[in-house]
């Protein structure tokens, strides 16, 4: 049991980040804070993939003449990292669109508080 808890410490941290991100998106009233929650949520998933690529006693996936190319267990898997490069780019693009929407909301309503926004949205 202790081994299970200690052995998966990276995943506990990731679960904490996921919950933190969801909390931010659901309970924070300020739209910018919601976005921070969203980013934390995305980063947690990126870390989940990277954590799944970890191999002890293995090195970066670049051919090392001293190790050779025979034993794949001596290199970590590069695929998750490549996938996450794409996911990071997607996350940046999402944040960009989200911030432009936030700016546009602020210009129109002069506030970023969700409860005030919902009131003004109905009245207009």
């Amino acid at each position: 049991m202790t081994d299970f808890i200690l052995g998966h410490y990276a995943y506990w941290a990731i679960i904490f980040l996921l919950v933190l991100g969801l909390y931010g998106m659901v309970f924070k009233k300020n739209l910018a804070k919601k976005l921070i929650g969203m980013t934390i949520f995305q980063v947690a998933i990126i870390m989940f993939y990277v954590a799944s690529a970890v191999k002890w006693a293995a090195t970066v996936p670049v051919l090392d003449p001293a190790i050779g190319a025979v034993d794949a267990a001596k290199y970590i898997s590069p695929l998750q990292h490549c996938l996450m490069l794409t996911a990071i780019v997607v996350g940046v693009a999402t944040s960009g669109v989200a911030f432009s929407l936030v700016i546009s909301i602020y210009r129109r309503y002069k506030t970023l508080d969700e409860s005030i926004l919902l009131e003004r949205m109905k009245s207009s």
Binding site: L18, L22, M25, L31, K34, L35, M38, F41, Q42, I45, F48, Y49, S52, Q80, L83, T86, A87, V90, A93, T94, V97, A98, S100, L101, V102, S104, I105, R108, Y109, L117, M121, S124
Partner: protein, 503 residues
């Protein structure tokens, strides 16, 4: 032409990127380029469909890398069918957009049409790809374009778009997280490869978790009840062209992904018996059908009513998935086709109302509209009858197959829901039809009080109803009659060939 499978997303992507350059001097070029690219995608996807029809499924390996290492495009009858439906509806809606003449997007037409093409690129990519991670990338291209297209609208649109963005990103992230679990267990991202590996690892809890996360994530995109919160505001405040594009395409593509993942990556038996995933989707869909219909009755704004009705109609597709038998599958796929045409036609009529009358408020409709907009109203009537499910129209047949599927499974509650929701549909559509067709023309609408019949021809003059606005709506809604009459051919020729193994 051996590269034709990859051509549609690439063409749309290239056109989307080059539009801002092409339209530097004359902004009008943007619309024409978008129209041309959309027409090109229709032609190529029709050509692909013919090839698949004649010689069976096609695959395309990007960069010459063979699967499961490389990214693969899979064109089987299901994917080319859905791709063709999406491209045709999008082309007709784009034709209609020309008639609106930037009324709702003043000065923003160049980025707007670039985004429209990005949206179509994402939708086509999601449909055609055979790689689960590639699907995520196209999903995000699609979603980002969606957020932009919605946020460009009325004053409240950015808020609606922002809420959609938060929920949509959570959905896409859930999909990515679930995919991570699947990848850790199977070590592959290629759909066909994952399908071969999965039977060895079905006992693993990571597979269950991954499947649950993928279904929830796509459920948000599909707006299945109770994950529909973003939809009504987004459809209501978006510009007319955006809602007419996103309503037929957006949720259908997500429904297609759920179909694809549940029945073609996972096993029918696993998702319906080992884990009750399809049952869960079916019951949620049944609640969503009733909820959407009841909420639609309470709305006074036509676009909002159509948005709630979308939630109900998506429920039918969910119901078909939930039945997990061949008849339910036929109903679900047929409803993807029918609903794309019906909702497209209805949103185009709402756009015509906004353009000509300046509003789409149901309480302000009266008998004068049947003279002012005779063809739009005829299109609306036909699409509404199809939504209700009257026999010669297409909507009847998808409901018919769903009802048969429910009987086949012995699920009487689902059958009751289908029948009850048809009645509810009738209530909220007849409310409009009654105002338009049964009321006596009021003073403001009557020009010398001619009889409505003789006015049918005269109402159709320039200034009252423009061809560019009227024809697309009429084409979409009259094709519902055609689809209804040809439904036996569609089901026998296309859909029965794509019923997944083991159903």
């Amino acid at each position: 032409m051996q590269n034709s499978p990859a051509l549609v997303p690439l063409l749309l992507l290239a056109a989307a990127i080059s539009i801002p350059v092409l339209a530097i001097k004359k902004t009008g070029v943007a619309y024409l380029a978008a129209l041309a690219a959309s027409l090109g995608s229709v032609v190529i996807s029709a050509y692909n469909a013919l090839r698949v029809w004649e010689s069976g499924p096609l695959t395309y390996h990007f960069g010459g890398w063979n699967p499961p290492i490389g990214i693969e495009y899979v064109l089987d009858p299901l994917s080319v069918f859905v791709a063709l439906v999406v491209n045709v509806v999008a082309f007709i809606v784009l034709c209609h957009a020309g008639g609106l003449k930037e009324r709702e997007i003043p000065g923003k037409s160049v980025p707007y049409y670039a985004l429209v093409l990005l949206l179509l690129c994402g939708a086509n990519g999601m449909i055609l790809t055979g790689d689960l991670f590639n699907l995520y990338v196209f999903l995000e291209i699609f979603s980002l374009a969606c957020y932009g297209l919605i946020g460009i609208g009325e004053k409240q649109a950015p808020i609606a778009s922002f809420r959609y963005l938060i929920m949509g990103t959570v959905g896409a992230s859930f999909y990515l997280l679930g995919l991570g679990f699947i990848y850790i267990v199977t070590g592959s991202l290629n759909m066909a490869d994952v399908r071969n590996i999965l039977p060895h690892v079905y006992g693993n809890p990571a597979v269950t978790t991954g499947l649950a996360l993928i279904v929830i994530g796509m459920g948000i995109k599909m707006a299945i009840f109770p994950l529909h919160g973003w939809l009504p505001d987004a459809y209501t405040y978006a510009p007319s062209t955006s809602s007419a594009l996103i309503a037929p395409i957006g949720t259908k593509v997500a429904a297609y992904v759920i179909l694809r993942v549940l029945f073609f990556v996972f096993d029918v038996k696993f998702v319906s018996q080992t884990l009750p995933v399809t049952d869960l989707i079916g019951w949620l869909a049944a609640i969503g059908i009733l909820f959407g219909s009841v909420m639609a009755m309470a709305q006074n704004e036509m676009k909002r009513m159509l948005a709630y009705s979308s939630i109900a109609q998506i429920g039918y597709i969910g119901l078909g998935i939930g039945l997990a038998n061949p008849l339910g599958f036929i109903g679900a796929v047929l409803h993807i086709l029918n609903h794309a045409f019906m909702k497209g036609a209805l949103f185009l009529v709402a756009a015509n109302l906004r353009k000509n009358a300046g509003h789409s408020d149901i309480s302000k409709l009266d008998a004068s509209y049947r003279k002012k907009l005779p063809w739009s109203m005829a299109a609306f009537t036909l699409a509404a009858l199809s939504m209700i499910g009257l026999p010669p129209t297409a909507g009847f047949f998808s409901k018919w197959y769903l009802a048969l599927g429910a009987i086949d499974k012995g699920n009487w509650v689902f059958l009751g829901v289908i029948l009850l929701s048809s009645l509810l549909n009738a209530v909220y559509f007849f409310r409009i039809l009654e105002k338009v067709y049964l009321g006596t023309p009021s003073a403001q609408g009557a020009e010398g009080a001619p009889s409505p019949k003789s006015n049918r021809g005269e109402g159709f003059v320039a200034g009252e109803e423009e061809y560019a606005l009227m024809i697309p709506a009429v084409v979409l809604s009259f094709s519902l009659l055609l689809l209804g009459l040809l439904n036996a051919n569609i089901v026998k020729g296309v859909i029965q060939r794509i019923i997944p193994l083991g159903m």
